[in-house]
């Protein structure tokens, strides 16, 4: 699997109700019904664990879509 697939998989693991047809790299946090602050924490923790990286507070705050998570993750690898 490549990085895109890995990040996408993290999204599906964090948001179990998400379907393939609903997924959009550009879709923003406020368009997800269940993306609250706890989901943000889960998303960040899972990504950090899978890639063995650490996000700063600013980076965590800036994650608001699958695309932004992908880009920040890419910059860490």
């Amino acid at each position: 699997m490549n990085l895109d697939d890995d990040v996408k998989k993290i999204f599906f693991e964090t948001f179990p109700l998400l379907t393939e047809s609903d997924f959009d790299w550009e879709k923003l946090q406020n368009n997800y019904e269940d993306w609250d602050s706890f989901a943000q924490l889960n998303l960040v923790t899972l990504t950090e664990a899978k890639f063995e990286i650490n996000f700063s507070d600013d980076e965590i705050t800036s994650i608001n879509s699958a695309k932004s998570l992908l880009e920040i993750t890419k910059s860490k690898l």
Partner: protein, 475 residues
């Protein structure tokens, strides 16, 4: 109310030639054991009544003779686990202020350099019969002193009276149906209240007690067959080890047991199911208790729906949930003859209110009166106002294969105040990683319960009794 020495005297009178005790090296009938104890106490009678005498022994007949000898001489037996650290040993001796420390010959090196004014130190083989006047303890006297394991704080001395012990022993015998026909296998240290309670029960009902120095599964299975054992007392990890690593023919030796008793507030359901599937007609049981309130509940696992409960309050014991929340969860309070009056020399406050012992454990009752333990009041994790019970997280994660032990603790967090941090000890050769665990948690828990950090650990900091020191994992 009886004193503990009466258990042996009465059984010896009823069945003098019956086998009372078996260990690796020796066998004693009740009359032989009684004779040994009387001889031993003739030496101890030189000490003033109510003097403390410390004991450091393995799980052998020498321990039983020494312990009962102390009881018989009206002294207080301070029981030290063999795995004790040097600093804890010094702490206990300094707090207990014994007149004599007795050890098995092989443990004498641990005590010979202890310094305390007027303290004598002896090996078991040094004790000789003396001509002395017999003494008789009273039911309200302290019989023994055990220090708490230090799981949650500094070990505290817990003195137990003869009458409290008599009450708990009779409850154990009645609830678990012990009788003189039993042959009880004990691969547990008797310096811990679980093992000691088993010794008292065997003496009280007049059954035969088989002592085993270590809890190795192969030795346990062999002893069950060799001695036609009917009951086994073991900690959950020993039982899990047996049912996970031994199959078919090996496990057949378990099948005729009438009782397997353990002592945990959390007994893995999978282990209970596996044991039940092996037993032909026997029962699996556990209990909930503290050193300060022995055997407060009993649970006989005969209902799958109650598999996570610790059972109902024992006869004569009251349990209530104090300051319960909307879910019925609150601190467990206990009242009854099994509850201590005070810690040793009142070194700590007894943490009681109107005779109710505040246990510090969190729990709830279901509609049928079964008690469930959810963790410790101090261990509760407060994630942005949401209460998380560590044991709930641990139970969920423990189901994953590749994990031996897991502990959830609070971790400070800028936005949420606290979040869950997980310490995980992997099984040997396990390939599980934190991503696997987190993905599983997200799928199986509410979001606020999902750990924000996972740390793998070679082993946990433990007390001398092998319990995990949870407080040392907290920030």
């Amino acid at each position: 109310m009886n004193t503990i020495n009466r258990f042996l005297i009465d059984s010896s009178k009823a069945n003098p030639e019956k086998l009372a005790l078996i260990d690796d090296d020796s066998k004693f009938t009740f009359s032989e054991l009684e004779e040994k104890v009387i001889k031993f106490s003739s030496f101890l009678n030189q000490f003033e009544e109510k003097s403390v005498i410390s004991l450091l022994f393995e799980n052998t007949s020498e321990f039983v003779i020494s312990y009962l000898g102390i009881i018989n001489s009206g002294c207080v037996a301070h029981l030290i686990p063999t795995g004790i650290s040097q600093s804890n040993l010094e702490h206990q001796i300094s707090s207990a202020q014994p007149k004599l420390v007795l050890s098995s010959d092989s443990y004498f090196h641990r005590i010979k350099d202890i310094e305390l004014k007027n303290l004598e130190k002896l090996k078991f083989s040094d004790v000789k019969e003396l001509s002395s006047k017999n003494k008789t303890p009273a039911p309200t006297d302290y019989a023994y002193l055990i220090y708490t394991s230090g799981t949650t704080s500094t070990p505290k001395g817990v003195p137990i009276t003869h009458s409290s012990c008599d009450f708990s022993t009779k409850n154990i015998a009645k609830t678990l149906d012990y009788s003189q026909n039993d042959i009880d296998l004990l691969p547990l240290q008797m310096s811990h209240s679980f093992g000691l309670g088993c010794l008292h029960t065997s003496l009280y009902v007049g059954s035969t007690l088989v002592l085993q120095k270590n809890p190795k599964p192969t030795d346990i299975l062999e002893s069950i067959t060799k001695y036609n054992v009917t009951t086994l007392a073991a900690i959950p990890s020993t039982l899990s080890n047996i049912v996970s690593n031994y199959y078919d023919d090996s496990l057949n030796s378990l099948s005729n047991l009438r009782l397997i008793i353990t002592n945990s507030t959390f007994f893995p359901p999978e282990t209970i199911r596996k044991i039940k599937s092996v037993l032909k007609t026997g029962i699996v049981a556990t209990y909930y208790g503290l050193t300060e309130a022995s055997r407060s509940t009993f649970m006989l696992f005969d209902d799958e729906k109650k598999i996570e409960s610790v059972g109902k309050p024992s006869d004569g014991i009251q349990i209530k949930i104090n300051d319960e929340n909307n879910d019925g969860v609150g601190e467990i309070w206990i009242r009854g003859p099994n509850v201590i009056d005070n810690y040793w020399k009142k070194e700590y406050s007894e943490n009681k209110s109107d005779e109710w012992l505040k246990t510090g454990d969190l729990g709830k009752f279901d509609s049928e009166g079964f008690l469930y333990i959810l963790g410790r009041v101090d261990d509760l994790i407060n994630v942005s106002g949401e209460k998380v019970y560590p044991q709930e997280i641990e139970r969920i994660v423990k189901v994953l294969s590749g994990i031996d032990e897991v502990i959830a603790v609070p971790m400070k967090h800028k936005s949420f105040g606290e979040v869950v941090k997980l310490f995980v000890k992997k099984s040997r050769d396990s390939k599980i990683n934190s991503g696997d665990i987190l993905a599983y948690c997200i799928k199986n828990m509410e979001r606020f319960k999902v750990p924000a950090k996972i740390e793998f650990i070679e082993d946990f900091p433990r007390t001398d009794y092998g319990k995990i020191k949870r407080f040392m994992l907290k920030e």
